[in-house]
């Protein structure tokens, strides 16, 4: 077997220009131009990486922009919607929208940014029903609220949970006591910390259950 690694290759910057996985569908220059024409200042800067355009939009205009994309430009399919926690940065939260034009084979990504103190974005549920659960998930995980969403309950976590687990400051092992789980013995206490051992506590063992006969 011939050896291939005789030297450490130079660490060249891995480019956006010649990405081997870039797709033709993400070339949406004409759509962005049309958006700029229709919305002017509400469409902010755009970033290109790996052939994908990310268009930043003013948060308060996102509903209008998406309605325009759907009704005029043919982006009828909302594929994905999700939030990003930029922590430590200005305008901490980001919500991104992944829209597809099935007929013209195009995919565009929009982004809005909001401050932590006013983490509210207009809901898209009036334009795309598909936004419903995605917005709920985003609210559940990051605590971004969606104005106009009729049913903004938590998606995965129970309503009793009081934290937003995907925020960067939320610890990976969870917060003891925040999520009660069923007792480990029929008459036992609720399990308040599933990672008790990691937090230095000794978990209750089933054989420690007091017996009726004794």
């Amino acid at each position: 077997m011939a050896l291939q690694f005789h030297f450490t290759p130079a660490d060249t910057p891995r480019g956006d220009e010649e990405n081997p996985h870039a797709k033709a569908s993400t070339e949406v220059g004409d759509t962005i131009a049309a958006l700029r024409e229709a919305f002017g200042g509400a469409v902010l800067n755009e970033v290109v990486y790996a052939g994908e355009h990310t268009v930043y939009v003013k948060a308060e205009r996102i509903l209008d922009v998406c309605r325009h994309l759907k009704n005029v430009l043919g982006f009828t399919y909302l594929v994905d919607l999700g939030g990003v926690d930029r922590f430590t940065e200005e305008e901490r939260f980001e919500v991104y929208y992944n829209l597809v034009n099935v007929d013209r084979r195009q995919r565009i990504r929009l982004k809005v940014r909001v401050e932590e103190g006013a983490a509210t974005v207009p809901s898209l549920t009036s334009v795309f029903k598909a936004a419903d659960w995605n917005e709920r998930e985003c609210f559940d995980m990051l605590g971004i609220t969606f104005e106009g969403h009729e049913d903004l309950r938590r998606m995965y976590m129970p309503e009793d949970f009081a934290y937003y687990p995907q925020r960067k400051e939320f610890p990976l092992l969870g917060i003891p006591g925040s999520l009660p789980l069923p007792p480990q013995t029929p008459d036992g206490q609720l399990t308040m910390d599933p990672f008790a051992a990691a937090h230095g506590h000794k978990p209750v063992r089933s054989y420690e259950e007091p017996r009726q006969s004794e």
Partner: protein
């Protein structure tokens, strides 16, 4: 932060999560059911016959017909579902959060546990997303092998769907036959990766191991035998009166509605929307093989059944072409910053060992601020990963666009207006996997 409820006091009613149950019940009450509007009046209040009463029924999360921990709360008017609320999250493990503390390669085995019926497709989806983010080219041979394995995963997933949905409809024998087929597929995965179920075989920049000659002959043999077997199942079911009656005109979704609800995969194509990532934005070598994307207009459960059956046959066709055109060559990128070195290099050269160590320790490092979305057509639909890098070895944000999650969203409105007995048929026809939907 908000205060926690008084669990000790609530112990009699619900021993845990009291607020959660209340919130779902409230939602069920408040839900604006299109059925009421269409009827033009509110459902009948309780009268003599018990079957005409309104009833709230909780199905799941632990119920054999819900395909995993899916909880459905339905409000019944007699035997008909008026309103339905789905509750998911019982399998939530927070893998998006976990990904943020793992290197890119370290996270790959976690994707096995998402759609556990087609783990190979998830591996490939993750690896390709990372490769797009870090601009890593993959050798030809690895791409063809990935394609074969993705299509085998599709067949495996559809086989389980077929057996289980038929069992839900009351037929047991097909379940046993499809599991025979899955057993053959497991043997192939076992031969290739050493694991039957959670294969974890794809690597960033290529594959873990090459196909052995025995694996190639096993795949060839599978493809040869199962064309007839699948046609045999179709012969049994396509004109089976019970199966057709249970499926036709059940859960009808029009094309526009399906797009609006965000359905994906066979559920979307069953409504006549020609959207398949393999054709929409071809990845791997899908633009070089010849295959048909099945499409139906009816939008009911029967259309989705036909689509999945035809997809299995198309997958076999793709596999045959891949085997024919499988080129010789490396199966992993030769760039030490992009992929693991081979074991023979790790054991016999110092550089190889250092690279192996560095790759495990840090791994792929995409540039700071890079963001990319890459999707594949998994058996359930569009499985995409949106990754953001902060210039370190682990993703700053790994967002999973899971097809089961999107499809379940459509199920809620699909169930309304159908009898209780159709719930199981509908869940089967949507084909959700909770490991993926709950992330």
């Amino acid at each position: 932060m908000a205060t926690l409820p008084d669990y000790a006091a609530a112990k009699d009613a619900f021993s845990f999560w009291p607020r959660h149950n209340v919130a779902i019940a409230e939602r069920l009450e408040s839900k604006d059911a299109w059925l009421d509007r269409r009827r033009g009046h509110a459902p009948k209040e309780a009268a003599g016959d018990a079957l005409e009463h309104q009833m709230t029924l909780n199905i799941g999360p632990q119920h054999p017909a819900t395909h995993g921990v899916l909880r459905c709360l339905v409000k019944l008017d007699g035997e008909w579902i008026d309103k339905a609320v789905l509750d998911i999250g019982y399998l939530h493990r927070g893998i998006e959060k976990l990904a943020e503390s793992k290197t890119y390669q370290e996270f790959m085995p976690y994707t096995d546990r998402m759609d556990y019926l087609a783990p190979y497709a998830n591996n490939v989806a993750w690896c390709m997303a990372v490769e797009k983010l870090a601009a890593i080219a993959v050798p030809e041979r690895a791409q063809w092998i990935r394609m074969i394995m993705c299509e085998l995963a599709r067949i495996s997933s559809h086989m389980l769907w077929l057996g289980v949905s038929l069992m839900d409809a009351g037929a047991v024998s097909v379940f046993l036959w499809t599991f025979q087929g899955r057993e053959d597929l497991y043997s192939i995965f076992d031969e290739i990766s050493g694991a039957r179920f959670t294969v974890s075989h794809s690597r960033v920049g290529g594959l873990a191991t090459d196909l052995s000659p025995r694996a190639v002959s096993m795949i060839r043999d599978f493809s040869r035998r199962y064309k007839d077997v699948i046609q045999g199942w179709r012969k049994l079911l396509n004109r089976n009166r019970i199966w057709i009656e249970r499926n036709r005109n059940v859960g009808v979704v029009s094309g526009d509605e399906a797009l609006n609800l965000g359905l994906t995969g066979p559920n979307l194509r069953g409504s006549g929307v020609p959207f398949d990532i393999r054709a929409f934005e071809p990845y791997l070598k899908y633009d070089e093989v010849d295959f048909v994307i099945p499409l139906r207009d009816e939008g009911d459960c029967l259309a989705r059944y036909h689509i999945r059956m035809e997809e299995m046959l198309e997958s076999l066709k793709i596999i045959d072409q891949c085997l024919e055109r499988l080129p010789a060559g490396p199966i992993r990128s030769g760039d030490a910053k992009a992929a693991y070195p081979s074991k023979s290099e790790v054991y016999y050269s110092m550089e190889g060992m250092i690279h192996d160590f560095m790759y495990t320790e840090t791994g792929v490092v995409p540039p700071k601020g890079a963001a990319a979305y890459h999707a594949i057509e998994s058996p359930k639909g569009e499985l995409g990963f949106y990754l953001e890098s902060d210039g370190t070895g682990s993703p700053w944000r790994a967002r999973i666009n899971a097809p089961s999650f999107t499809n379940l969203q459509g199920l809620e409105s699909m169930m309304e207006g159908h009898p209780v007995a159709d719930i199981v048929v509908l869940i089967g026809s949507i084909d959700p996997v909770m490991g993926e939907a709950d992330k």
